[in-house]
């Protein structure tokens, strides 16, 4: 009974405990509305990239190019902005570039039955090279029009626009995955590919859709990151890759039994974001932050595993 409860809500309880702990240790700086909004803006990129990873994981595959896609998206959006393209179009085209790349990855993997691990790793490497070629290795920041960073820095009724965009993305992806036939097919393929195929699902198409969606989200995140920084670094999104999978794996331990799910991923990203924010506020050295974050991920996955063992 307790183990089942722990398995289902353990990660959520851990998140609450972490937040409560930081609030007790830093009642003024950490436990404030301002800081909560701060965290919501800081984790925006992680949440969307982790959501991208979750979609592909739901189809039973991995997309290791999400970090490189984010870097490319940022550079594409910033360079278009410099060339005077309307800002909304910059974001849309960056997203489209990601969608196209995801589509190519998906088609390669499903048509030639390639391993997604290797294929997306290679695609990521290609993208890294392309991004360097596009920028000559330099940060894109000169002549960026003031409208470009506006979204990344805007607030609506005191809430960062980035946080609202992230929320909209999560709800949209959650709805797509759980309430529409294409989304349910993605889960079916991820759950049992053979059974899905026998049931008449075009598994290749569902997987390709997942990769395309992942590409779109990752590249769009890069554009948002560039908007927030008012500049695009050729490796700007690369750092999101590992935390995104950490968030997605943490998310699998929340709500649903070992199944990638969007709201679980959100909880995972919140844990990672709150740890980084709280430990910085408490002036914990960076190396210790890494140790603590890694240990918490291991702990969460172990608790979930223990629960599963008890059930078996």
């Amino acid at each position: 009974m307790f183990t089942r409860w722990l398995r289902r809500y353990g990660t959520l309880v851990a998140a609450a405990l972490i937040i409560a702990g930081f609030s007790a240790l830093s009642p003024t700086a950490f436990f404030s509305v301002e800081n909560a909004l701060n965290i919501s803006r800081q984790i925006a990129f992680l949440v969307i990239v982790a959501t991208a990873a979750t979609v592909v994981m739901a189809a039973g595959e991995f997309d290791l190019s999400v970090g490189a896609l984010a870097s490319l998206g940022g550079v594409v959006a910033a360079q278009l902005a410099v060339r005077g393209v309307p800002v909304a179009l910059c974001f849309a085209l960056a997203g489209l570039a990601g969608l196209g790349t995801g589509l190519v990855s998906g088609l390669l993997i499903t048509s030639f039955r390639l391993l997604s691990f290797i294929t997306t790793l290679a695609v990521g490497t290609v993208l890294g090279g392309l991004t360097f070629w596009l920028t000559g290795g330099s940060t894109v920041f000169e002549n960026i029009p003031p409208a470009f960073p506006a979204l990344g820095r805007a607030t609506l009724l005191g809430i960062p626009a980035l946080s609202l965009v992230t929320l909209a993305v999560i709800v949209a992806v959650w709805f797509l995955l759980t309430h529409t036939p294409p989304g349910r097919r993605i889960y079916a393929v991820g759950g049992n590919e053979s059974a899905a195929r026998i049931a008449g699902i075009n598994t290749g198409r569902s997987k390709t859709l997942a990769f395309a969606l992942s590409g779109l989200l990752a590249a769009f995140t890069g554009a948002l990151l560039a908007s927030r920084l008012g500049s695009a670094q050729p490796t700007g999104g690369n750092g999101l890759f590992l935390p995104a999978y950490a968030a997605a794996f943490l998310g699998m331990t929340a709500f649903k039994d070992g199944i990638p799910n969007v709201f679980g991923t959100l909880v995972g990203a919140v844990i990672i974001g709150v740890l980084a924010n709280g430990l910085t506020i408490l002036q914990v050295p960076t190396y210790l932050q890494d140790v603590i974050t890694g240990l918490i991920v291991i702990l969460a996955v172990t608790v979930q595993r223990l629960g599963t063992g008890a059930r078996q």
Partner: protein, 304 residues
């Protein structure tokens, strides 16, 4: 009775712990943020700054984001929330941090740059004159090449300081039509020595003939070290390498007759001293001396 004694003892202990901190003035806290703490030079600057802070009784808090600019912006917001007394950004372009610098200004927290570049909103930045260093090491190398030959460039343009040096090379190349750039490679950071060594091994394999490569220009010392190691391992002679930074490893290799012929010794500890002096002034309510302060660099070549 033992209970009361224990209570007294606890009270005395608590008081003795609390009293000194209650009597001492609230120490100033300086947050030091960088995406490149792994770099030897960045590390040296941070160590020097921490030393300066210690001498003045300030607390320091070092945050490293391993090359991630988005994280750097987030962590800067966190230290602003924790109401530190001053922020120092080390070895990073301040442009992506514009919003955070504005937030720091709003919170009345001064932002200093250590080898970072200066933008409005910051108190000041201390660095070496990267353009001047790029120019002087390039001139030295081009003279050593007698104004002609095949040049390999190992650099990292995303770093603002290295970019300025590389731009000085770009400018000098226009005046030397006899010097042909075989290839320019961006060195991976972190891990620049190993990466530049591998890159140089491949470049040497691709250009096997004698004189196919005359010299290697590198943006800082770590790629120079990697390139020199590759050249020595391949048994190639006559290829000249230059670095910039004057790290102890590169200086040692110059003296031992490795392919590295020269480096410029940046005075990193002095940069941190300059920043600490300006932080001190700001803490005392005085204005900074200047928004850009330069620590002079000195040339290191093989001693006869």
């Amino acid at each position: 009775m033992p209970n009361r004694r224990a209570r007294h003892l606890t009270a005395a202990l608590t008081l003795s712990l609390l009293l000194p901190s209650a009597l001492a003035a609230d120490p100033k806290t300086v947050a030091i943020l960088t995406p490149f703490q792994q770099s030897v030079t960045t590390n040296a600057m941070i160590a020097s700054l921490q030393d300066q802070a210690k001498q003045r009784g300030w607390k320091t808090n070092v945050v490293d984001t391993k090359g991630d600019m988005g994280q750097l912006a987030s962590r800067m917001e966190d230290v602003i929330s924790s109401k530190v007394s001053a922020i120092v950004i080390v070895s990073t372009d301040p442009n992506p941090l514009k919003t955070q610098i504005q937030s720091a200004n709003a919170a009345k927290i001064p932002v200093f740059g250590l080898d970072s570049g200066y933008i409005p909103g910051m108190a000041m930045n201390a660095t070496s004159d990267n353009a001047a260093m790029g120019k002087s090491i390039t001139n030295l190398l081009f003279k050593a090449m007698n104004g002609k030959g095949n040049l390999v460039v190992l650099t990292y343009r995303p770093h603002p300081g290295v970019l300025k040096r590389t731009q000085a090379l770009d400018a000098a190349l226009k005046n030397y039509p006899g010097i042909h750039v075989v290839t320019e490679q961006q060195v991976q950071v972190p891990g620049p020595i190993e990466n530049s060594r591998q890159q140089m091994e491949n470049i040497l394999l691709a250009n096997p003939g004698k004189g196919a490569i005359t010299a290697v220009w590198t943006g800082w010392d770590e790629p120079a070290i990697g390139a020199a190691q590759a050249i020595q391992a391949a048994g190639r002679t006559g290829i000249k390498v230059t670095g910039i930074d004057g790290t102890s490893q590169a200086t040692d290799m110059i003296q031992k007759g490795s392919p590295i012929i020269a480096t410029l010794k940046q005075n990193f500890p002095q940069m941190a001293v300059l920043v600490a002096q300006q932080i001190d002034r700001v803490f005392k309510g005085q204005p900074v001396i200047a928004t850009e302060l330069y620590a002079p660099a000195s040339l290191v070549t093989r001693k006869p």
